[in-house]
């Protein structure tokens, strides 16, 4: 069995119908469990107080904001190279999810930053690259909406996605590239000295797993919707031509 079999819309829809219910359940359980664990059963941080509880939303959403764009990049490259329509539709389906994740990361960051840094916003490398990524998401969605021919739209959005990947990389590594600004380095690290304490890290891992699963579920579901919408357009066009 090859992964390219799923480029067949019918096969894709049949397979996702089967896996979606357990995936919905898994993401709901992980997100609810992780947030309850983090919010109710973890202590305050000795420096940041109760604001540390924002980490359970901020870090997973930021993780997905960046990785959603990389998933779109891979799907766009598959479209450009192999012309599989399902991959172009998957990239389109992922964009609004990535947009919301970026917005959550920006808003929770601002809310967290206010008491910790004394400001809602600073033109810090990571914050700025995240804002640019947010604008790229908006532009990507707008470009899909603006072009009638779906293949042309898929081609142009793929190019935009390629360009935007620079900012996705910058969002991830801005702190390392420019060792300045207000934003701290990565919260999670293999270096035990730098990593957040286990008491905060474990519920954070659960929330991250939940967000990853939620992203997968939403993209699969939304791709199915895009496939059906495309089929409907084709049928309506055929009906108009036969009249």
């Amino acid at each position: 069995m090859s992964i390219w079999e799923y480029a067949n819309p019918k096969k894709f829809l049949r397979s996702t119908e089967r896996v979606l219910p357990p995936l919905w359940l898994g993401s709901a359980v992980l997100i609810t469990g992780g947030l309850i664990w983090g919010f109710f059963f973890t202590p305050d941080d000795y420096r940041q107080g109760a604001t540390v509880k924002i980490i359970y939303l901020h870090v997973p959403s930021a993780l997905m904001a960046i990785n959603a764009w990389f998933m779109m990049l891979v799907a766009s490259l598959i479209w450009v190279i192999r012309r599989h329509h399902v991959s172009a539709l998957a990239a389109r389906a992922a964009a609004p999810v990535g947009l919301v994740m970026t917005l959550i990361a920006l808003l929770t960051g601002a809310i967290w930053g206010q008491p910790m840094w004394g400001t809602w916003w600073a033109w810090d490398p990571r914050l700025t690259s995240f804002l640019v990524l947010f604008l790229f998401y908006l532009g990507y969605i707008a470009l899909w909406q603006a072009i009638d021919d779906p293949d042309t739209a898929a081609d142009l959005t793929s190019i935009l996605c390629l360009v935007g990947s620079v900012f996705a990389v910058l969002s991830r590594y801005a702190v390392n590239f420019w060792n300045q600004g207000l934003h701290q380095g990565a919260s999670l690290s293999l270096d035990k000295e730098e990593n957040v304490a286990d008491v905060f890290a474990y519920p954070l891992y659960v929330c991250m797993a939940g967000f990853i699963l939620l992203f997968i579920v939403l993209v699969l579901y939304r791709t199915g919707t895009e496939i059906r919408a495309r089929r409907m357009s084709a049928l309506l066009a055929r009906e108009r031509m036969s009249e």
Binding site: L35, F39, F40, D44, G49, A50, T51, K53, I54, L57, H58, S61, P96, V97, V100, L103, I104, L107, T108, I111, W112, Q114, P115, L214, L218, Y221, R222, G224, T225, R228, A229, R231, M232, L235, L236, R238, E239
Partner: protein
Amino acid sequence: MMPDLGKYGDTVLSAYGVSLLLLLVLLVLTLRRGAKVRAALRDVEHRVGRNG
């Protein structure tokens, strides 16, 4: 049951409120459009099938 959030109560609760609201909106819009497209496609398929 509610943990003592001290002076950061508003900060933490607003971060949770905004995030959960955005996730809920995304979820509702996704499911609503999915159901709408599915129903519309069923109608079109039915019509096209009937008209040959």
